[in-house]
C-alpha cells in the first residue's frame, strides 16, 4: 500500500496497519489483502464484483473491516457486498470508502451492502466516506444499504461523510421483524459545490419493533443537501426520525419527512429543523475569548460529534 492509500485507510477506518481479525481491503478495484477467522468467512463473489461475509451463529465480540480505497483517477466501480449474520452473534463491522482523485477524470464508487441479520443478533455497523485530492475529476459515491432484521435483531448504524465527496446519493432500506431494533446516526458535512442526497425508507413489520433515525448535517458554501425519510408502521411499533441541519453561506437544505401508519398502534414521530448557527451561541463563545471563526468551528464540531 502506498502513502495515499494509507492516509485514506486512516481516515475511513482509523487503521494505520492491517487490522486485527477478519478483513478485506479493496484498493483500486482489486483485493489488497484479506483475512478470515474461525467464525467469520469472506468469500469472493463469482458472478459480480463483491464479497459475501458470513458470520457464524453465536460469534461474540469479533470485528470485520472492509475498507475500499480508490487512489487512481478515473476508476469507476460497482460493488455488491452481502453480510450474513448468524443467530445470536454480536459483532462490529467497519466499512467505508476513501477516494483520492488527483487527476482530471471522475472517480466513482457505488456499493450495495445487504445485511441479513439473524434472530437476536446484534451488529454495530460503522461506515465512513472521505475524499481528498485536488484534481478536477469529481469524487462520487453512491452507497446503498439494505437491512433485513429478523426477530429480536439489532443494528446500530453510524454513517459519516465529513469531507471531500462531490456527489453522493445515500440510500438506506430496512425491514424489521418482531422486536427488532434499528438505530441510525448519520453525520454529514458538505462544502463547495457538493451535493448530498440521503434517502431512508424503513418498514416496521413485526410487533414491538422500533426504528430511530437521526441525521445531523452541516451545509456550507454553495452545497446542496436533500433529506428524505419514510417510516411505515405496519404493526404495534414505534418509529422516530430526526433531521437537524445547520445551514451556512449560500447552501440549500431540503428535508422531506414522511410517516405512514397502517396500524392503530403504530406510534411514529418526525422532527426536522434547519437553521443557521444561533447568534447567541456565537456571542457566548466569543465572550469566552474565541474569535467568530473559532466559535463557529466549535459549534459545528460539537453538533457533528
Amino acid at each position: 500500500m502506498d502513502l495515499i492509500q494509507k492516509n485514506l485507510l486512516a481516515q475511513i477506518a482509523d487503521l494505520h496497519e492491517v487490522p486485527e481479525g477478519a478483513y478485506n481491503i479493496r484498493a483500486n478495484g482489486e483485493s489488497a489483502g484479506s483475512n478470515t477467522t474461525a467464525n467469520i468467512d469472506i468469500v469472493k463473489k463469482d458472478d459480480k464484483d463483491g464479497i459475501d461475509i458470513i458470520i457464524k451463529p453465536g460469534t461474540k465480540n469479533e470485528s470485520v473491516h472492509i475498507p475500499v480505497l480508490l487512489s487512481q483517477s478515473g476508476i469507476q466501480e460497482m460493488v455488491y457486498n452481502d453480510f450474513y449474520i448468524g443467530e445470536g452473534a454480536n459483532v462490529t463491522i467497519v466499512a467505508g470508502c476513501g477516494i483520492h482523485n488527483g487527476g482530471a477524470n471522475d472517480s466513482k464508487h457505488d456499493g450495495i451492502h445487504t445485511f441479513y441479520i439473524g434472530k437476536n443478533a446484534k451488529v454495530k455497523y460503522i461506515e465512513r466516506h472521505y475524499g481528498s485530492g485536488d484534481g478536477n475529476g469529481e469524487r462520487i459515491m453512491n452507497p446503498e444499504t439494505v437491512i433485513h432484521l429478523e426477530e429480536g435483531a439489532v443494528l446500530e448504524m453510524e454513517t459519516t461523510q465529513i469531507k471531500g465527496i462531490d456527489s453522493t446519493n445515500r440510500i438506506t432500506r430496512g425491514d424489521l421483524a418482531a422486536g427488532a431494533v434499528l438505530e441510525v446516526k448519520e453525520k454529514l458535512m458538505t462544502h463547495g459545490k457538493q451535493y448530498a442526497r440521503t434517502d431512508f425508507s424503513v418498514d416496521l413489520n413485526g410487533d414491538g419493533c422500533s426504528a430511530n433515525i437521526i441525521s445531523r448535517s452541516v451545509a456550507k458554501d454553495e452545497s446542496r443537501q436533500e433529506f428524505f425519510s419514510n417510516i411505515n408502521g405496519n404493526c404495534v411499533c414505534s418509529g422516530h426520525s430526526e433531521c437537524d441541519a445547520i445551514i451556512m453561506d449560500k447552501a440549500v437544505v431540503a428535508a422531506s419527512p414522511q410517516l405512514t401508519a397502517a396500524n392503530i398502534d403504530a406510534s411514529l414521530i418526525h422532527e426536522a429543523a434547519i437553521g443557521k448557527i444561533a447568534g447567541e451561541q456565537l456571542i457566548k463563545l466569543m465572550t469566552l475569548g474565541l474569535t467568530e471563526e473559532e466559535a463557529e468551528e466549535q459549534i459545528i464540531n460539537g453538533f457533528l460529534k
Binding site: D244, Q281, G302
Partner: protein, 240 residues
C-alpha cells in the same frame, strides 16, 4: 478599574428614537459591585455594553485606563472581561467539559472540570459529559454559566441577574456561591441583581433607573431607601 464616560445608547422604534441609556458615567474599582433598579431601566444593556455585545451610540469605556470602546467581544474577553448571561445558551453536542475547557483556554482534565463544578455546588462527575441543552434544569445551566466565569478567572466578571429563572431553593445555595466567590476571587465582580441578599454582600450598589444612574453608594446608604419601596418581593416573582 472600569470607567464609563458619558455613555448614551439610542435605538430606533416605531415611535421614534428611544434613549435606553442617558449620559451614564461611573467608575468601578471596588471588589464586589451590584447594579440594581427596576426592570427595563437599562441594567442589562449596560452589562452587554461593557462586554462589547452592544456598541454605545456615544461615550467611552475604559479598562485600566485603556480605551476599549471600539474593541469587539473577543478582544474584550481577551483583555479580561467575562460575562455570564441572564439566559444561558443551549449548545447541541457541546458538553459541560467542552465549554469549561473553552472558557479556561486549555484542555481541562476531568478532575480540573470537577473542581470548578464543585465550586458552584454541582456534583461534578454526573455533569462533565452532559450536553448543554434543555436536559439540564434552569438552576443547573445557571451554575454551569457561573462555572465558566470561574474557569476564566479574569479581572472583571459580570453576572446578569444570576437569580433569574431559578427556584428559591437553588437561589439560596447560589448566594453561598457568590459569598465564596467574593472571598476568593481576585479582580472585580459586577453583578446585576434584584436580590437583597446579593445587595447585602456588595461593597458598592449602583441604582439604574430609566436609563440613568439614580444613585450610587454603600449598602448602608442605598438599601434602606430600596427596601422602603419594597420592590424585592415583587421582582422575584416577576422573574419566575
Amino acid at each position: 478599574m472600569l470607567e464609563l464616560k458619558n455613555i448614551c445608547y439610542e435605538v430606533e422604534t416605531e415611535k421614534g428614537i428611544k434613549e435606553i441609556l442617558k449620559n451614564v458615567s461611573l467608575t468601578i474599582d471596588e471588589h464586589f459591585v451590584a447594579i440594581t433598579g427596576p426592570n427595563g431601566g437599562g441594567k442589562s444593556t449596560l452589562a452587554k455594553m461593557i462586554a462589547g455585545i452592544i456598541q454605545p451610540t456615544s461615550g467611552q469605556i475604559l479598562l485600566d485606563g485603556e480605551d476599549i470602546t471600539e474593541l469587539g467581544i473577543t478582544e474584550r474577553a481577551k483583555k479580561g472581561i467575562s460575562f455570564a448571561f441572564q439566559q444561558p445558551v443551549h449548545f447541541k453536542g457541546l458538553t459541560v467539559k467542552d465549554l469549561i475547557s473553552i472558557a479556561a483556554g486549555k484542555n481541562m482534565s476531568v478532575t480540573d472540570v470537577c473542581n470548578i463544578l464543585s465550586e458552584v455546588g454541582l456534583c461534578a462527575r454526573n455533569y462533565v459529559n452532559r450536553e448543554i441543552n434543555n436536559s439540564l434544569s434552569g438552576g443547573e445551566l445557571k451554575r454551569i454559566e457561573i462555572a465558566m466565569i470561574l474557569a476564566r478567572g479574569t479581572k472583571l466578571s459580570i453576572f446578569d441577574e444570576p437569580e433569574a429563572g431559578i427556584d428559591l431553593w437553588s437561589f439560596n445555595s447560589l448566594i453561598k456561591v457568590f459569598e465564596k466567590m467574593r472571598d476568593e476571587i481576585n479582580g472585580t465582580i459586577l453583578i446585576i441583581s434584584h436580590q437583597e441578599k446579593i445587595l447585602e454582600i456588595a461593597d458598592k450598589i449602583i441604582v439604574v433607573s430609566a436609563g440613568e444612574i439614580e444613585k450610587t453608594g454603600t449598602k448602608e446608604e442605598i438599601l434602606p431607601g430600596l427596601l422602603y419601596k419594597a420592590t424585592s418581593c415583587q421582582t422575584l416573582t416577576d422573574k419566575q
